[in-house]
Structure formats: structure tokens, C-alpha cells
């Protein structure tokens, strides 16, 4: 019996007023698998993430969760399924503290009163298990550095035991150590049977953790590749469009060479 993918997108399209951002996109993510999503700027990667997280539902297309079609029209729908997202722009409230941001939208309350103690306890626990250091969990987010804010955003995606993680360029502001830590974490999650969608422009990171690479180009699928059997040049030419003969190929950048 073939294993049902955790999440499958079938023919997803989305249009903004003047821009056709996604056209008939297909994507499958299995449990225990890290899928990288690559593509040039404005290829539609973030738009796809927002389709899955319920923030910007698709105009057309079907989302299947473990083999059955589901409706994800609101962020809550995705939350109920166990989909957690780290957005490219982080989408956090600078005036709320770390605890407030972590539990925003899923506050713990007793008789309608926020249980700050319990939320703070779980925050500390979570930070501890992820071995993340934040100077003070009660400091407003605006007072943290951008890297620290990104770490908090990543931490937020672990609140409430997610089953599928969407990471939209989660390492842009991270230091070397934090990036390596996140990659470790992604591997650990994969081993625990979570599905992960990782968006990144960094070939090294993707080579290190991803199982497959899905490429988007101008809002369309432009191939799915097995990381272990595909050369870097193949993927890059698929990203830049050299492989679909629509544009002239751009030379690959030397610092991104595969080992």
C-alpha cells in the first residue's frame, strides 16, 4: 500500500490583481520528509506557504491532508490540522513580549483569564528543549535583535505539537551557530516523523537537510529533484529557467558549488 502524503496540493492557482502568482502548482510532502522549495525572487514561494497556512487561500485547487481533501480557509484551519509556519516577514507583534508572541492565537486561559504563569512555564520549557537562549522572555519583541526575533518565530512554530512545519527562509538573520542548530533540529523533526517544507536560497543548507527539492518558476512547477541524485547545475538551471528554454541561463555562482 503506498503511503499517503501528509500534505498534497493539486492544481493550486492564485492570482493577485495584476499578477498570476501560482499556476496549477502540485506539491507533496510526506511525513518524515524534508522538502525544499526553491525558486527565484517572486517565483511564488511565499504565496504558496500562505495558501497552505490559510492566510491567503488559493483561488483554485485542492489541498489533501493524509489523502482526503480539506478546506484551509483561515489560519485556524491550518492550526487545527497541525500546520505551523515561520513566515518570511516573521509576522510578530513588536509590542508583545516573547511569551505573548509565542502563544498569540492559542492563548492558554482558565475561566477566560489568561494563564500567564502556565504560558511562561511552557515558553521556558520549549526554549530549554530547543536549547535556545533569549535574554528575557518578558521583554517586548521590538527590543530583540532581528536574529533573536527569527529564533522566537521558529520557536513559535513548535508551540502545540505541529505535524507539518512550513519554514519560509528561516535562516536569513541567523548566525552560523544558530543556522547549524536549526538544521540539526530539522533533521531531528524529520526523524520524529514530521513533514517539513523548507524554503531557502542556500544550496548548502538544502543539500545538508533536504530529501527532495521542488522548484517553482514564475508561479509554475519546474521540476522535483532528488537531492542525492541531482547535480547542483541541474537544479540551478531549473530555478533560473535555463531548463525550460524560456530565458537565457545565468551562470551559477561559484560560492554555491556542491562539494
Amino acid at each position: 500500500m503506498p503511503v499517503q502524503p501528509l500534505l498534497a496540493l493539486r492544481g493550486v492557482s492564485k492570482r493577485f490583481a495584476a499578477v498570476q502568482a501560482l499556476v496549477d502548482v502540485e506539491l507533496e510532502i510526506r511525513a518524515g520528509e524534508v522538502v525544499a522549495l526553491m525558486g527565484d525572487n517572486a517565483a511564488g514561494k511565499s504565496t504558496l506557504v500562505k495558501v497552505i497556512s490559510g492566510v491567503g487561500p488559493a483561488d483554485k485547487g485542492v489541498i489533501e491532508w493524509q489523502g482526503s481533501a480539506v478546506q484551509i480557509r483561515r489560519p485556524q484551519d491550518a492550526q487545527v490540522l497541525g500546520i505551523a509556519t515561520v513566515y518570511q516577514d516573521l509576522a510578530m507583534c513588536g509590542n508583545l513580549d516573547v511569551v505573548g508572541n509565542l502563544f498569540l492565537g492559542r492563548e492558554i486561559h482558565r475561566f477566560g483569564v489568561l494563564d500567564e504563569v502556565e504560558m511562561e512555564r511552557r515558553t521556558r520549557q520549549l526554549l530549554h528543549t530547543l536549547s535556545i537562549r533569549v535574554p528575557d522572555v518578558r521583554v517586548p519583541l521590538a527590543a530583540l535583535s532581528s536574529g533573536q526575533r527569527q529564533v522566537v518565530a521558529i520557536t513559535r512554530s513548535f508551540v502545540g505539537e505541529p505535524r507539518l512545519l512550513l519554514l519560509d527562509e528561516p535562516t536569513t538573520a541567523l548566525g552560523i551557530e544558530q543556522t547549524s542548530q536549526l538544521l540539526d533540529l530539522i533533521e531531528e523533526l524529520r526523524d520524529r516523523g514530521l513533514g517539513v517544507l523548507l524554503i531557502s536560497h542556500n544550496m548548502g543548507d538544502i543539500k545538508a537537510v533536504a530529501d527532495r527539492v521542488a522548484v517553482l518558476r514564475l508561479g509554475r512547477n519546474n521540476g522535483v529533484f532528488d537531492v542525492n541524485t541531482t547535480s547542483q547545475e541541474q537544479i540551478i538551471s531549473s530555478i533560473t529557467g535555463a531548463a525550460d528554454n524560456t530565458t537565457t541561463p545565468r551562470p551559477s555562482r561559484p560560492e554555491e558549488a556542491w562539494p
Binding site: C93, L104, G112, V117, S146, D184, A208
Partner: protein, 424 residues
């Protein structure tokens, strides 16, 4: 697959039992103490000073006027002041809600006037029971707020414009209701009149209330501390809790004592404090309040975590409309009449100024309903002090305007500091 094996998977031991967490809690606190000096500097830098500037401004205001005229800090003057602030203060609490989501409500002055006129017209002219008339008046504020909120949140008209239209329309409706009489007087012994004319004078009651408030604060602080220490989390030292409670007790008992030397503790002041405590609780301790603050911190961020932005926005304008109407009843109660005197403009300006001077940011997300109390105290103190000195209203306006300007400049600088931190 060889690549994967190379990635180390060393992770800090998750076997950190009770003792470890205790130790961590302790270390956290000492670290925090050490960082205290730096933290204060950072707070100044980032513009997170809370009520400190407003408290300083109030202290300066009181010292200056007391220095210029020693009738200022008399029980009589303070008693009058404590009732005068209530109408504007309650309206300012509503303004705090609106400012917290980063918007403005220019209609509150007109809504306050409308509530007074509606109440008087229903009660005096139509003979409807007083309590019912009062409820209808307050409900009219909620309904008008819902209209503003709907137009803003659902249709997308800027709140500034919607409420500007409201300012004009509701003022027109009030003039229409008052008709040719231009002033409707109502019963001096009635329910609404009692709002500002009733005083608690029995020492048992007044000191009892002060003791009750202090005890409640102590109890809540202790309860919180116990829960945190049971969970092995850093918590406030007992000494600090006692110091804060003592400070609160001094302020509460001093106020009761001074007010008791005139007519007693005004009912209006007790109700005002009740509104502040309740609204502060709602904003800081309930999921709804968290959503309001989140909206002020970033609409898109709030939306992405599932906040129903339209619903929260409408509700906030309803809160401000309702509180404007309640405040309007207090204003009418003070003069036991509703009249055409064009005071609604001044009311609007004072309420907005109070919220901002008290420390709530114009730019959303930062502030507390306590700033309504502090701000309105400062504004009314200036007005009352000037009146004692015989200064003409034009000069009063200029000085209050100057204070407001200073507050807004501070607010903007604080925002810039926070922004630069955000962008860094």
C-alpha cells in the same frame, strides 16, 4: 546520505530536574539585578517608560500650583477635582482602547453630548423611567460606535474620517433633540444626578474601601508569586511585593483621608477607578485584550495568528462609543442638565489629550487605561490651578496645548527609538 551523518546532534541534556530549574530561576534574578542599571538605560532609550513621565508631570504640576497658591492642595479643591475628572476620564478610557489599535475616535465628544441630551429628552420630556433612559443613552453610544467600527473595519473608510463625520452628525442629532429649549434640566435627586453628588462619608466605608483595594492587590500579587514559585519560575521577591503594596496603601489611605476632610469619598471617583481596573484587567488578562494589543502591534501579524481583525476593530469602537456615552452621563450629572453649550469639542480634545499625556501611544500597541487617570488628573489640575490663579481660558488652552504637544513629541521620539531597534 553521508552528509547527514556529519551533522552533529549534540543537544543540551533535557534532564534538568527541579533543582536545576530552581537554580536557573535564581541565576535569572541575579542576572537581572545586575543588568538593572543597563535595563533602565535601555528602557529610556527604547521609550518604554510606562507611567513615569506622567507621574513626574503630575508631581511638577501640583508642586508648581501649590507653590503659587496654597489653596490648591486643599481637601476642598482636591475633592472637586476628583469629581471633575470623572466624565472626561471615562471617555479617555475609551480613547485608550482606540489608540491601542492604532486608530482615533473623534466622535466621542459628540457622543457624550448626545447621551446626555438623549437621556434628558427621554426622561424629562417623554417621562420614561430614569434607569431606562440612562440605559438607552448608553446603548446609543454603543450603537454609534458599532456604526463607526463597521464603516472603518468592513468598508475600509479611514477611522479618522468616519469619526469626523460622526462628530458632526451626532452633534447635529443632539441639537435636534434639545430642540428650541436648548437646555433640559433634570431631577437633582435622581439616579444620574447621584452619580456625581453622592459621597461616602462614613470612615468605616471609605477606609474599608481603601483597605479592600490594598488587600486585593496584595492577595493577587501573592497568589501570582506562589504559582510561579511552584512552577519553579523566577518570581518577584517578597520584599518587592510588600514595598509595592505599602506604596499603594499610602496613596489610597492618603486620598481617602484628604477627601474625607471635605465631603468624603466621591461615588464618581470610586466608579471611575472601577472602570479603570476592569478595563485594565480586560486588556491585560483576557484573550480579547490580547487581541486588541496584537492589532496595535501589527495588523497583519494578528491576522496571521487567526485574530478576527474586523470583529475586534468593531468591538473597540463600540467600547469607545459606550464609554463616551457613560462619560457623557457623568458630565450631565455634574450640572444636572443637558444643554447646547458647545462643550463637546473641549471634551473631545481633553479626552484624547488625557490618554496621550497619561502615556498611551498615538501609534498603537503601547499604553494602559491607567494613563486615562493620570492624564486627566494632569489636565484638570492645570485647569483648576489656572482658575485659582485667575488665569484666563485662552492662556489655559495654550498651556494645556503645550503639555499635549510635549507628550506627543515624547511619544514620537519613543516610537522612533523603538522603530530603530526594530529595524536594526
Amino acid at each position: 546520505m553521508a552528509v547527514r551523518g556529519r551533522r552533529a546532534r549534540a543537544r543540551a541534556a533535557d534532564a534538568a530536574p527541579e533543582a536545576g530549574r530552581r537554580r536557573e530561576g535564581h541565576r535569572w534574578y541575579t542576572e537581572r539585578l545586575r543588568a538593572n542599571a543597563g535595563a533602565v538605560r535601555r528602557r529610556v532609550h527604547e521609550g518604554r517608560l510606562g507611567p513615569v513621565p506622567a507621574l513626574l508631570a503630575l508631581a511638577v504640576t501640583w508642586s508648581v500650583f501649590q507653590g503659587l497658591n496654597d489653596n490648591f492642595l486643599t481637601p476642598r479643591n482636591l475633592s472637586v477635582l476628583s469629581v471633575d475628572i470623572v466624565g472626561t476620564g471615562i471617555i479617555a478610557v475609551g480613547i485608550v482602547f482606540v489608540l491601542l489599535i492604532g486608530e482615533i475616535d473623534l466622535a466621542v465628544g459628540s457622543l457624550a453630548g448626545l447621551a446626555g441630551a438623549l437621556f434628558a429628552a427621554l426622561y424629562v420630556n417623554l417621562g420614561i423611567p430614569e434607569w431606562l433612559a440612562a440605559i438607552v443613552a448608553v446603548a446609543s453610544g454603543a450603537a454609534a460606535g458599532a456604526v463607526h467600527g463597521f464603516s472603518f473595519a468592513k468598508i475600509g473608510v479611514p477611522a479618522f474620517v468616519v469619526t469626523l463625520a460622526g462628530l458632526l452628525s451626532w452633534n447635529g442629532l443632539m441639537l435636534y433633540l434639545l430642540g428650541t429649549e436648548s437646555t433640559i434640566h433634570f431631577n437633582q435627586d435622581g439616579l444620574v444626578a447621584a452619580l456625581t453628588s453622592r459621597y461616602f462619608s462614613a470612615a468605616v466605608t471609605t477606609y474599608g474601601l481603601a483597605a479592600l483595594g490594598t488587600a486585593a492587590y496584595l492577595l493577587v500579587s501573592y497568589h501570582d508569586r506562589r504559582r510561579r514559585s511552584t512552577a519553579g519560575m523566577p518570581c518577584r521577591p517578597v520584599g518587592e511585593i510588600w514595598a509595592r503594596t505599602a506604596l499603594l496603601a499610602v496613596v489610597a489611605f492618603a486620598a481617602v483621608h484628604v477627601l474625607g476632610r471635605f465631603e468624603g469619598l466621591p461615588l464618581a471617583l470610586v466608579l471611575f477607578l472601577g472602570v479603570i481596573v476592569a478595563s485594565d484587567f480586560f486588556l491585560r488578562r483576557t484573550p480579547y485584550g490580547r487581541q486588541v494589543l496584537a492589532l496595535g502591534g501589527g495588523v497583519e501579524a494578528a491576522r496571521r495568528t487567526g485574530v478576527d481583525v474586523v470583529r475586534v476593530r468593531i468591538s473597540v469602537f463600540m467600547v469607545s462609543g459606550t464609554l463616551a456615552a457613560v462619560g457623557g452621563l457623568f458630565v450631565a450629572s455634574r450640572v444636572t442638565s443637558a444643554s447646547q453649550v458647545p462643550g463637546s469639542g473641549m471634551l473631545l480634545i481633553s479626552a484624547i489629550a488625557a490618554a496621550i499625556i497619561g502615556g498611551t501611544s498615538l501609534f498603537g500597541g503601547r499604553g494602559s487605561t491607567w494613563s486615562a487617570l493620570l492624564g486627566v488628573l494632569i489636565i484638570q489640575s492645570i485647569a483648576s490651578g489656572m482658575a485659582l490663579l485667575g488665569v484666563q481660558p485662552p492662556v489655559q488652552f495654550m498651556i494645556t496645548g503645550g503639555v499635549l504637544f510635549t507628550a506627543v513629541v515624547f511619544d514620537s521620539l519613543a516610537r522612533r527609538a523603538a522603530e530603530s531597534g526594530w529595524r536594526a
